[in-house]
Subunit: 345 residues, 2 copies
């Protein structure tokens, strides 16, 4: 276990290194912080910290730099989370308040987040498992295809085309089918609706012409698919330009990071694993992301709830980032989003 003051020294090192991007030496610490001790004492503490692999020196004789482990201890011992300035808060409120549909909300959220943190911002779309089916529509858009439109709670719309080969569907037939499906599903939540559709399909022969059963089955399959198509697997991203900021952070790993952003699957899994403990905001630092090839990046994520289910949002940036500030910002944005999606409903 590290002593009280050693921990303070670690905090000083992390803080100074983050803002200066240069290894920090014992002298610099006594200059910039008012520990009541001399540089030699700091050096002793630093020797201890180095023994615990919390800090390291890039070259035999130069200042110290936090290791992954050091950053980890730093965020774990971060005392209070500095709240945002009132200017920032009102900016968030104003900017989010203007948004129209869900896509817009997500886009504005990540944009805001990336601007406030100067990092890449990522947000998972809210889960829809518990949301309610508001409306189902079937539209014939050709002789052999039917478009199914599903409107879910808070205005999310799912659309998909059902191909009905070698058939000639009529408006009336489509309308009747729509009525039946809507009666079964509209008003219930997604899970219940799925079950209802399954029952509908079971005694399909009771209400369909024998030669239409196959067509009806196809349509039902598409609608069920839409219900399953949990939009939770979509994410919004913003601020990729921050990756190329001066400082040359991501020297070699920039392509990997850019790929991860494009391959949303990686990000989804990464955020998915960040359930961690009961804390609302958690961090994953450096090597902890090694499995995804992102061992030079840190991720700060927070869950947010849309009143129905839990989703995540956060930022991704270099190891050397302002953890304290970013944690505060991510948490603040998550809370605003909570509130916003809550009252929207």
């Amino acid at each position: 276990m590290v002593s009280e003051r050693s921990l303070a020294v670690l905090h000083a090192i992390v803080g100074d290194y983050v803002s200066s991007n240069e290894p920090v030496g014992s002298k610099a610490i006594v200059d910039r912080h008012s520990f009541g001790v001399s540089a030699a004492t700091i050096r002793n503490d630093m020797a201890l910290l180095e023994e615990d692999e919390l800090i390291a020196q890039p070259h035999t004789s130069s200042g110290r730099v936090p290791t992954d482990k050091g950053y980890r201890l730093y965020v774990d011992t971060l005392a209070r989370i500095r709240p945002l300035s009132s200017a920032q808060r009102s900016a968030i409120e104003r900017f989010l308040g203007e948004s129209s549909d869900l896509d817009d909300v997500m886009a504005r959220t990540v944009r805001m987040l990336s601007q406030l943190t100067n990092q890449v911002a990522v947000a998972q779309y809210p889960s829809l498992r518990r949301t309610v089916v508001r409306h189902i529509d079937l539209v014939a858009i050709g002789e052999d295809r039917v478009l199914s439109v599903l409107i879910l709670g808070s205005g999310v719309v799912e659309q998909q085309v059902a191909l009905l080969p070698a058939s000639r569907v009529t408006e009336a037939w489509v309308h009747g089918l729509r009525q039946r499906i809507a009666d079964a599903a509209v008003g219930s939540d997604v899970e219940t609706a799925t079950a209802a559709l399954a029952r509908l399909e079971e005694d399909i022969s009771a209400w369909s012409q024998p030669d239409e059963i196959d067509l009806v089955r196809r349509v039902l399959a598409v609608v069920s698919g839409q219900l399953q198509a949990n939009r939770n697997d979509r994410i919004a991203v913003a601020g990729a330009a921050n990756l190329s900021r001066p400082g040359g952070e991501f020297a070699g790993s920039l392509p990997v990071v850019l790929e991860a952003i494009e391959e949303q699957v990686t990000l989804l899994r990464l955020f998915g694993e960040l359930v961690h403990d009961d804390r609302d905001v958690s961090a994953s630092i450096g090597r902890e992301n090694e499995a995804y090839g992102l061992s030079e990046t840190s991720i700060i994520a927070s869950k947010y709830e849309d009143g129905i289910a839990i989703s995540k949002l956060g930022v991704l940036g270099p190891l050397r980032m302002d953890y304290a500030g970013n944690i505060a910002t991510v948490r603040a944005i998550a809370r605003y989003l909570n509130r916003f999606l809550g009252e929207e409903r």
Copy 2:
């Protein structure tokens, strides 16, 4: 005007420089190409090319590098466009063939394009000005808000919420309004439908209760807005990771490029201006993009038609790119997309 052989020398320089990333000297040219002349002669030609500002030397005494102007002349005098290999062609066909809806088609297209060219690929969504309104739906999703869903040709869906403050809309009222709007607009193309809605609004008092006129106006405004919301202003992007490829191309301008990709507005304008001449595929090189801050990038774009309107797609990359290959690939993909969207309809 440059002589025949000088032009050949320019082509050699561009070709060698693109593949080697090193200034190319007179000796290298006679080694790698079989001009029937000596290095000294090449040097004379190079002096001419330099006088015309088609090539330049980075340092007083080193090989030559093409200038923007040189690249321009190079692509303008590119003789034949090498067709793609049959393996590539079948890969394109297979990959595009699997796609389901429009979003998927666009995503697969840019992905394919970025992989084949190793550059950033961009594609404008097809224009919808001439497309037909298939279906209009209004759904009350609360006492004071109505969701309008618009289904356009080829299955594109527009959705937007109309806020009706301090009102208590009923299912019946919404249904009646929907009927009236659908009667006016469904079946006509977007422009005609817009006009029809305008007429509907003109004699609004003839068919609405006086106290409802304001509400109806709001709904009409939203629907008209959706009709205007030409999805032509959306783009798909892929391959941002290619920007960070070794070679250190975009030394300082990387942030600018990443920002441009995120700020889709810039790309839209850029591609919009690339109508140029009657050629199907055109290029914009280096300083020609200065107005957008992209003076270190080149863009190769081609128009494609979805049977109804014209849109664009292309790649964006460093000045030093394989113009010949990329032009061929962009053209090929545009043609496949033409065909694909055509038969889809």
